[in-house]
């Protein structure tokens, strides 16, 4: 105990030293003023003292859990067990669906708009979950595919007057094609190189969109993009928001259905196996190139599709919407929610998007918290809030088949 307190004290002093110049001094070299914020020192000391105490407590707890797991004990939480109960899952889904459907009737346009953006992130998270969560391909430029979809619609709409509904699948397919084209050269790369190269792709996309003005109208972007049409009728702003909300709900359900089927299929298993151990996977007769490419391109498909919806929702896009920070947010959704877990990713998207939205005071610290959350999750709960539910199968086996043995 005393030992523990002493250690926390040392850590706290260390962090006071560490944060001294950046937290205490604020110098404005423009106006030649220095501000000394001595109070911050106290806050840092207090916070790091408590955090270091917590940190060590969590570490020991994690060690204990590991020991329990090694002895074959139950390490799943109550929530996890509840979620693995099928009948509960169906009931919960019914309730959620109902809530989602009446939401815009109960709340106003502003709330619906926020909900739409959260749902966009749900689809983005589920798409990225295919490549990162299932296949283990760390994609840091995912936002580029989102941008490709958005620009596809904006440009097709601007030049050829194509409508939302035709472009929705086209956007997905273009995203997918980009995934294939970009994926090809980088398939042989190791995991961490892949991360850096995809990061590069994301940045290249933004730079090209900023500079290739004849195509993309440069940094000023494209405005007056059509909203989705509703049987040719003109909708009021409120109605069209509700309409987009329902489209988004449908899109989310579609995404969940498809990704769930993929996950529990022959292809999905190959993705997971590839994530777990590439060498064992290829030795089991699985074609790495094809498996990687399919995961990467299918992930891109969803981003492209929801990109179309994004452009039609905001009616204005420019390169500034497609920065690395966006990719990082989507990645934190997947990491926080639980890599590979569909339910987890949905929950992650709602937490990460809605929390800062409803806690305005907190929104400034949003990215700080995301970054910290990624580190903390990796150390203390790498499986995310909701770890992947294990799939069970029905089988008869030898005994069921041959009755003579």
């Amino acid at each position: 105990m005393l030992q523990n307190l002493k250690q926390s004290l040392i850590v706290s002093l260390w962090f006071v030293f560490l944060t001294f110049p950046l937290m205490v001094i604020r110098v404005n070299t423009m106006d030649q003023v220095v501000v000394w914020r001595w109070m911050n020192m106290l806050w840092v000391a207090l916070a790091s003292f408590i955090l270091s105490y917590l940190w060590r407590y969590m570490l020991t707890r994690q060690q204990m859990r590991k020991a329990v797991a090694e002895e074959g004990g139950e390490t799943r939480s109550k929530l996890q067990l509840l979620l693995e109960d099928m009948s509960f899952r169906y009931k919960a889904m019914g309730v959620l669906l109902l809530a989602a459907l009446i939401f815009p009737q109960v709340f106003d346009t502003y709330q619906s708009t926020i909900m739409i953006s959260a749902l966009i992130y749900v689809v983005l998270g589920l798409g990225l979950n295919i490549s990162v969560g299932l296949a283990g391909l760390l994609d840091l430029g995912y936002v580029a595919f989102f941008g490709v979809g958005a620009y596809s619609y904006a440009l097709l709409n601007h030049h050829f007057d194509l409508g939302f509904w035709i472009t929705l699948p086209i956007g997905g397919i273009i995203g997918c094609l980009f995934g294939v084209v970009l994926g090809f050269p980088i398939l042989r790369l190791r995991g961490d190189y892949l991360a850096i190269v995809t990061l590069g792709f994301g940045m290249i996309f933004k730079v090209v969109m900023e500079n290739w003005s004849s195509l993309s109208f440069g940094p000023s972007g494209i405005a007056n993009i059509d909203k989705p049409s509703f049987f040719g009728m003109d909708l009021s702003l409120a109605d069209s928001t509700i309409y987009i909300y329902y489209i988004m709900i449908a899109l989310v359900i579609f995404t969940i259905l498809v990704t769930n089927r993929l996950k529990n299929s022959r292809i999905g298993r190959a993705w997971i196996a590839m994530r777990e151990d590439e060498i064992a996977c290829v030795a089991m007769g699985i074609d790495m190139a094809r498996t990687k490419l399919s995961a990467y391109a299918l992930g891109a498909f969803w981003a492209g599709m929801v990109g179309v919806l994004f452009a039609s929702k905001t009616t204005f896009i420019n390169p500034a919407s497609f920065t690395f920070m966006e990719s990082a947010i989507i990645l934190s959704i997947v990491v926080l929610g639980g890599m590979g877990s569909i339910l987890g990713v949905i929950l992650g998207a709602f937490i990460l998007i809605l929390l800062p939205e409803y806690m305005r005071a907190f929104s400034e610290y949003r990215m700080l918290a995301f970054g910290a959350a990624m580190v903390i999750m990796m150390i203390f709960r790498p499986q995310g809030i909701i770890s992947n539910l294990r799939q069970t199968y029905q089988y008869k086996g030898l005994k069921g088949k041959t009755n003579n043995g």
């Binding site: 260390w14 030293f17 560490l18 944060t19 110049p21 950046l22 937290m23 001094i25 604020r26 110098v27 404005n28 070299t29 423009m30 030649q32 003023v33 220095v34 570490l59 990162v132 283990g136 760390l138 840091l140 050269p185 980088i186 042989r188 790369l189 190791r190 995991g191 961490d192 190189y193 991360a195 850096i196 190269v197 990061l199 590069g200 792709f201 940045m203 290249i204 730079v207 090209v208 500079n211 060498i279 690395f324 920070m325 990082a328 990645l331 934190s332 990491v335 400034e364 610290y365 990215m367 700080l368 995301f370 970054g371 910290a372 959350a373 990624m374 580190v375 990796m378 150390i379 790498p382």
Partner: protein
């Protein structure tokens, strides 16, 4: 010809900075096979601390190159402390975890540190006080290479010589090389591997801070975001030279610096970053081992 020389020295200056930062990537990667995503942020923190020291000094009326040296020393101390802490907090608990875990932790740290500086200081660019005087003896060649460039070149050169001596001649350097080659073996022969890893982070961070201070005083401004692009470019340099190889990092930095400088000078500067990333993709797909790196087969 003069234009060519100008670009040549411009590229050399730029490249030597890339090399300084790339060394940190390469040394860390060589030992724990991790792309330390937050390395660019360490560089930024180094630059920022230097800005704070230099800013406070100039506001209180002190100036001159000695202030720059003081700022650099404090920046190096702080960057090393951050690097050391970074490894202890975010990477050490993840040794032996699945390969994506430390990488994601590193990305998280990078985002965290960026926003920490943003919130603790300011989102705006702050001007860095001009502390490098125009040396009189540089007058005749000033249109090709200026005094700040000279300071950068000399500093990086000295730093790299010191680093080489450290690694080649000292006992610590020997332990570092042993750990890089085979961590388990090094542990067996009594090397304190944890300490060597910490030390690697400290040295890498110190080098990045030197780079940060030099760039800040050369470009003349600093903000919380400068580490990101510099980090990615330096990483490109490290890969270009062959990640894990120290001479490779230097060579990669110089090649990248020249490539960028000449491409911007003779072609167009709009697509400078595209060009860098294009180069990165090209090397990684065609020759992932880089110029000087050895292709290692993974043991099965």
């Amino acid at each position: 010809m003069e234009y060519f020389l100008e670009l040549f020295f411009g590229g050399l200056t730029r490249g030597s900075i890339y090399a300084l930062i790339a060394l940190g990537y390469t040394m860390v990667y060589g030992i724990i096979q991790l792309i330390n995503f937050a390395h660019g942020e360490i560089y930024m923190i180094g630059a920022f601390v230097a800005l704070i020291v230099a800013g406070v000094c100039t506001i209180y009326g002190l100036s001159g190159i000695s202030i720059l040296i003081l700022a650099a020393i404090i920046a190096v101390i702080y960057a090393s402390a951050y690097g050391y802490t970074l490894e202890k907090v975010a990477y050490r608990p993840l040794r032996g975890a699945p390969r994506l875990s430390p990488l994601i932790s590193a990305i998280g740290m990078s985002i965290f540190l960026q926003n920490y500086v943003l919130l603790a200081q300011t989102p705006d660019f702050l001007p860095f006080p001009r502390l490098i005087p125009d040396f009189a003896f540089m007058e005749p060649v000033a249109h090709i290479i200026g005094s700040p460039e000279l300071v950068i070149l000399v500093t990086t050169m000295v730093t790299m010589i010191l680093l080489t001596l450290l690694i080649k001649k000292t006992k610590v350097g020997k332990a570092m090389r042993a750990t890089q080659q085979d961590m388990d073996m090094a542990r067996l022969v009594g090397v304190n591997v944890d300490r060597i890893i910490s030390l690697t982070f400290i040295i890498g961070s110190a080098l990045a801070a030197i780079g940060g201070v030099l760039v800040a005083s050369y470009i003349g401004q600093v903000n919380f975001y400068i580490g990101f692009l510099a980090g990615v470019k330096a990483f490109t340099a490290a890969v270009l030279g062959g990640i894990g190889s120290i001479p490779g990092a230097v060579l990669g930095g110089l090649v990248l610096g020249w490539a960028e400088s000449f491409a911007a000078g003779y072609i167009s500067s709009d697509y400078e970053d595209v060009f860098t990333f294009g180069l990165l993709v090209l090397i990684l797909t065609l020759r992932p081992a880089g110029i000087l790196g050895k292709a290692r087969k993974q043991k099965v």
